[in-house]
């Protein structure tokens, strides 16, 4: 028997065509693309940031000059701090997009399996990405308060403007405090886990890993990039903590 079926509606002269909701942009893969692109923005930024930090090894003047140059870069074409602000805006927009997509996918995963297995443990990678990601976000807030927005010296012996207004001195004063070193090391562990999977994942999401070989290569690359960034970040704080810089 003939039934009225949605398929036939478009054949009926009385109906207008319904708007197409079937678009590539409305998919979960589009959300992942947003996550991949914004994630790669972070990777690019992290590489530059880690490189800048390594200037601490070259001493106070080199480090503070670099920090100053970041603000005067492009002058007089750009206003003082112009480049820095452009980068900050890109990072903030990326963070919003990245975290939005992460939480959308996270909540979707929750509603896609409401009854948990009795005998299956959730893959560790997945847990690291999500809880590790939240930890990194909390850390980033603390990190900005610490070095950028408020400039907090946690060192009882080194207080006052001559410390907090001097980027190099503030870094040294901070990492002479053991619990600061621990916070930063923990954050770097979480960052390593996040980037190891994230950098691989981004390549996979962008469709760059279309063979088993390319896939394996992308995994190795993820491991390498994560290790490179995290080791570069860890060198200055650990050098200070172990008294190689003072």
């Amino acid at each position: 028997m003939w039934r009225l079926d949605a398929r036939y509606l478009s054949l009926m002269p009385t109906t207008t065509l319904s708007p197409r909701t079937n678009t590539a942009r409305s998919t979960t893969i589009a959300l992942k693309l947003l996550m991949a692109v914004t994630g790669l923005v972070f990777v690019g930024y992290l590489i530059l940031h880690a490189y800048g930090n390594l200037k601490a090894l070259a001493g106070e003047e080199a480090f503070n000059t670099y920090a100053h140059h970041l603000r005067t870069f492009g002058e007089p074409m750009l206003p003082y701090g112009g480049l820095l602000w452009a980068v900050r805006i890109i990072l903030i927009l990326s963070l919003i997009g990245h975290v939005y997509a992460a939480f959308r996918l996270w909540s979707r995963a929750g509603s896609a399996r409401r009854t948990k297995y009795a005998a299956v443990k959730t893959a560790a990678t997945s847990q690291w990405m999500r809880w590790g990601g939240v930890f990194i976000l909390v850390f980033v807030v603390w990190h900005l308060l610490h070095f950028t927005i408020v400039k907090i010296s946690p060192n009882a012996d080194k207080q006052g403007a001559e410390i907090t207004a001097n980027p190099y001195q503030l870094v040294v004063a901070s990492f002479e405090v053991w619990w600061m070193v621990i916070i930063y090391v923990l954050a770097m562990v979480a960052l390593f886990m996040h980037l190891k999977h994230g950098f691989y994942s981004a390549q996979q999401t962008l469709g760059l890993t279309g063979s088993p070989k390319a896939n394996a290569r992308a995994k190795t690359l993820g491991l390498g990039v994560a290790a490179l960034i995290v080791v570069a970040f860890l060198i200055p704080p650990l050098s200070i903590a172990f008294g190689l810089i003072n």
């Binding site: 998919t27 979960t28 959300l31 992942k32 959308r104 279309g210």
Partner: protein, 250 residues
């Protein structure tokens, strides 16, 4: 290897709306050469003899090619070996072992009864785009559209997917991307798949999301669970096809 005694904790659920639970059973004198499903057949005969409801589970070919069977066995989709549940043998277990048996868990695969789930969502994904349109009439000359060997091989590899749903069951996001990636790669590598390529990926992924599967985060549990060893790169292919469709204005 001598015969074995086992403790089974099996998910029992009378119907879609009922609250299920794990029920403990003991089976004795199980031959290591039995398949996992034959072991369940033995248990069901005992339950029948006692006048209890037998355990409902799916199977058809029992030779690893139809994709009908599928159980979560002690936390592994299709059990500890890389094969289907029907091709899993009891020699993969130890005498005295306790085995937990659960259905595939995904909202997109609602439980029908006990260990049986409704995988109609996969059929609807295929209906939405997993096909090619061909004219009827005389078959075209087989040489009319040459296919390079590497593409033919990759298409065959992807076509091995039997639609069992283990990838969804094993995925922490309950995502169906490996299944879809296999179809997209299978058809996308062949000339016959080209005319509908962009429309196919957009329709299939929208249908997938609409069915309530989770989004992929490239964890890789799916390929580990897949009895046919469908690799992660088919998901990359799927993502690439979607990105291309987006670029082409879909």
């Amino acid at each position: 290897m001598s015969n074995m005694n086992l403790t089974l904790k099996i998910w029992r659920q009378a119907g879609p709306q009922d609250k299920g639970q794990l029920v403990t059973y003991r089976v004795t004198d199980i031959s290591p050469d039995m398949s996992f499903l034959e072991m369940l057949d033995v248990l069901n005969e005992e339950l029948n003899a006692k006048g209890e409801e037998p355990i409902a589970f799916d199977s058809d070919c029992r030779e690893g090619i139809c994709g009908m069977c599928g159980l979560m066995i002690s936390g592994h989709a299709h059990g500890p070996e890389k094969t289907t549940t029907c091709q899993l043998h009891m020699r993969s277990f130890k005498d005295g072992e306790t085995i937990t048996v659960e259905p595939w868990r995904a909202e997109a695969f609602p439980i029908v009864r006990d260990l049986v789930v409704d995988r109609g969502a996969f059929d609807r994904i295929i209906q939405s785009g997993g096909f090619i349109s061909a004219n009827t009439g005389a078959a075209p000359d087989a040489h009319a559209a040459p296919v390079p060997k590497d593409k033919a091989d990759r298409a065959f590899m992807a076509a091995e997917c039997i639609g069992c749903g283990a990838c969804v069951a094993a995925c922490p996001n309950a995502s169906g991307m490996l299944f879809m990636g296999a179809k997209i790669t299978h058809l996308g590598e062949l000339p016959q798949g080209q005319p509908e390529r962009d429309a196919r990926v957009v329709s299939m992924v929208n249908q997938h999301d609409h069915e309530g599967f989770g989004g992929c985060t490239n964890i890789g549990e799916c390929s580990t669970a897949c009895p046919k060893g469908i690799p992660q790169d088919v998901i990359s292919q799927l993502n690439k096809d979607l990105r291309t469709a987006m670029k082409n204005g879909r």
